[in-house]
């Protein structure tokens, strides 16, 4: 059976070119980048070259980009590191209700440590209100953390304006750009970003590698202490193959950004419009224009998301009901509740995310299959009586 992957927001396949770039670093140039000998110095040199390549894609200097074990670690580091290091300045953190759990659960942990967190509401399209944000700032506020692009509904926040407000009040601004990086052009300087989390496996790079941009001069504590790697800020033998692969993927994404966006937007709109045209009682979630180029998120009334996913999977189509890492949870998505959907509608959500290997035929087949599936499940549903 044909396999159609429409879950690029959960993770992407690693591109062939990326794997090829990584391979020599497993078996040949395998040195520890901290070693003085040739094996080590070769690794060190490619490490710094990779850092530079990635930094360039976000208009940062290499010494502001730190590698981590993924996006979640970067999120944890940014929030815990900045809040703990700036206790003297204040104990207040502002975020939104639709953040990834990497942010939200870190906030819960920080609350247990005595910090105060404001969770901003979003509107029906998933947008944070700039007025509400500004109003939430107190003289205790140290950090604002608002995600660049939401992983479930794809809404993109006005990051630059958020950073402007933060800086106007002398507050630091972190953004979780795990979904945005590689899908929109990011310039940390122009966009007033002080810290930014990114992850390799969302941009056709390897899993288990990510990074945190930290503007120069920011006080931040470590969360992983030990060796002097990453300028004494993140211990652990550097994952050179992962780093090299991440950098290759980042550069490829950056060079191809416009074509990638155009293609994704075309297919996304075709998919979303196609579904909305043929399936009644459906709601297209997220912002109509300010959204991830590949994100489609739709709620189908009267049916439940997991049943939908299983049925799609039986037809070879891989989708998601929202964020991958909360599957197994029985609660509906916190993001869909935050945009004001009632529980029963939120339960019927489907996220289809398009990527570089998606074809027009994939989209057509998906629309067709989805129509059948929704119809079948609705006929089984006690809530459906049309």
């Amino acid at each position: 059976m044909k396999q159609i992957y429409l879950d690029y927001s959960a993770t992407t396949p690693v591109k062939r070119e990326v794997v090829d770039t990584m391979l020599p670093y497993f078996t040949e140039i395998y040195g520890n980048a901290s070693s003085i000998h040739g094996f080590g110095q070769e690794a060190k040199s490619v490490l710094e070259q990779s850092r530079k390549s990635i930094a360039e894609t976000i208009n940062a200097t290499p010494d502001t980009f730190y590698f981590t074990g993924g996006g979640s670690e970067a999120d944890n580091w940014a929030l815990k590191g900045v809040m703990r290091a700036n206790r003297k300045k204040g104990n207040h953190l502002i975020t939104s209700k639709i953040e990834h759990h990497g942010i939200l659960h870190t906030c819960t942990a920080l609350e247990k440590e005595g910090f105060e967190v404001t969770y901003l509401d979003v509107d029906a399209e998933g947008m944070v209100s700039l007025e509400a944000l500004e109003a939430a700032i107190t003289d205790q506020t140290v950090l604002i953390s608002i995600m660049f692009i939401n992983n479930e509904i794809g809404t993109m926040q006005p990051v630059k304006a958020i950073g402007e407000i933060a800086h106007k009040h002398g507050v630091l601004f972190h953004t979780d750009a795990v979904q945005a990086y590689g899908n929109v052009k990011i310039d940390v300087n122009e966009m007033n970003i002080d810290l930014m989390s990114v992850s390799g496996h969302k941009i056709y790079g390897p899993k288990g590698i990510g990074g945190l941009y930290i503007k120069k001069g920011i006080r931040i504590q470590n969360i992983i202490e030990g060796g002097a790697q990453e300028r004494n800020r993140r211990a652990g033998t550097e994952n050179i193959p992962g780093i090299v692969g991440f950098a290759k993927a980042a550069v490829m994404a950056d060079e191809n950004l416009e074509a990638h966006r155009e293609k994704l937007i075309y297919l996304r709109d075709k998919l979303a419009n196609g579904i909305m045209d043929v399936i009644p009682y459906a709601k297209y979630n997220g912002h109509p224009t300010e959204r991830h180029p590949g994100n489609v998120n739709i709620c189908f009334e009267f049916i439940e998301g997991e049943a939908l996913l299983l049925s799609l999977n039986a037809k070879g189509i891989a989708g998601s009901s929202g964020s991958a890492c909360t599957s197994g949870s029985l609660d509906p998505s916190h993001v869909l509740l935050a945009i004001g959907l009632p529980h029963e509608i939120a339960h019927g959500s489907l996220r289809l995310s398009i990527g570089d290997f998606t074809t027009e035929e994939d989209v057509e087949y998906t629309i067709e299959s989805l129509k059948e599936i929704v119809q079948k499940l609705r006929l089984m549903s006690p809530l459906y009586d049309k």
Binding site: E304, A307, L310, S311, G328, L330, H343, P382
Partner: protein, 148 residues
């Protein structure tokens, strides 16, 4: 796979989906907020369940559990049907992930609710319904030890 082949079979090809017009008993359990509602219809002749149908709003295993439960009691006596446990439903499905055990409980409870409805309408009593309270909330997601 998340589910056994048996679960997937009953999910993809559910038996006894639908409604029974003028059913002798109808039971509905679950909660739309939790994303699961199960409704079971029974037709009774003498003490025998001669037809049973279901409609379910819920996850894959809720649908599979409904299907299996209706299959297990089709043609059985009321007393036999009342003896059905969620454990039997799980066994018949070849197992369910721990987080999905409650879906099988829903099936057991929906069936009991349907028989209770039949019993109430016909002023009958059954041993298997002793102590049964249709308004009790049998639907507690937290009782299962979530392992994943």
């Amino acid at each position: 796979m998340l589910y056994t082949e048996k679960v997937m079979d009953h999910f993809m090809n559910p038996r006894n989906v639908g409604e029974i017009e003028n059913a002798d008993g109808v039971g509905e359990v679950g909660n739309v907020k939790c994303g699961d509602i199960m409704r079971i219809y029974i037709k009774v002749e003498g003490d025998q369940i001669v037809d049973v149908k279901f409609k379910t709003f819920g996850c894959g295993s809720a649908i599979a559990a409904s299907s299996v439960a209706t299959e297990l009691i089709m043609g059985k006596t009321i007393d036999e049907a009342l003896a059905l446990t969620n454990k039997q439903v799980i066994d018949e499905l070849g197992g369910l992930p721990p987080v999905k055990v409650h879906c099988s409980v829903l099936a057991e409870q929906a069936l009991k609710a349907a028989i209770y409805d039949y019993a109430t309408k016909n002023a009958l009593t059954f041993k298997g319904l002793e102590g049964y309270d249709p308004d009790e909330d049998h639907h507690d997601h937290d009782v299962v030890d979530i392992e994943f």
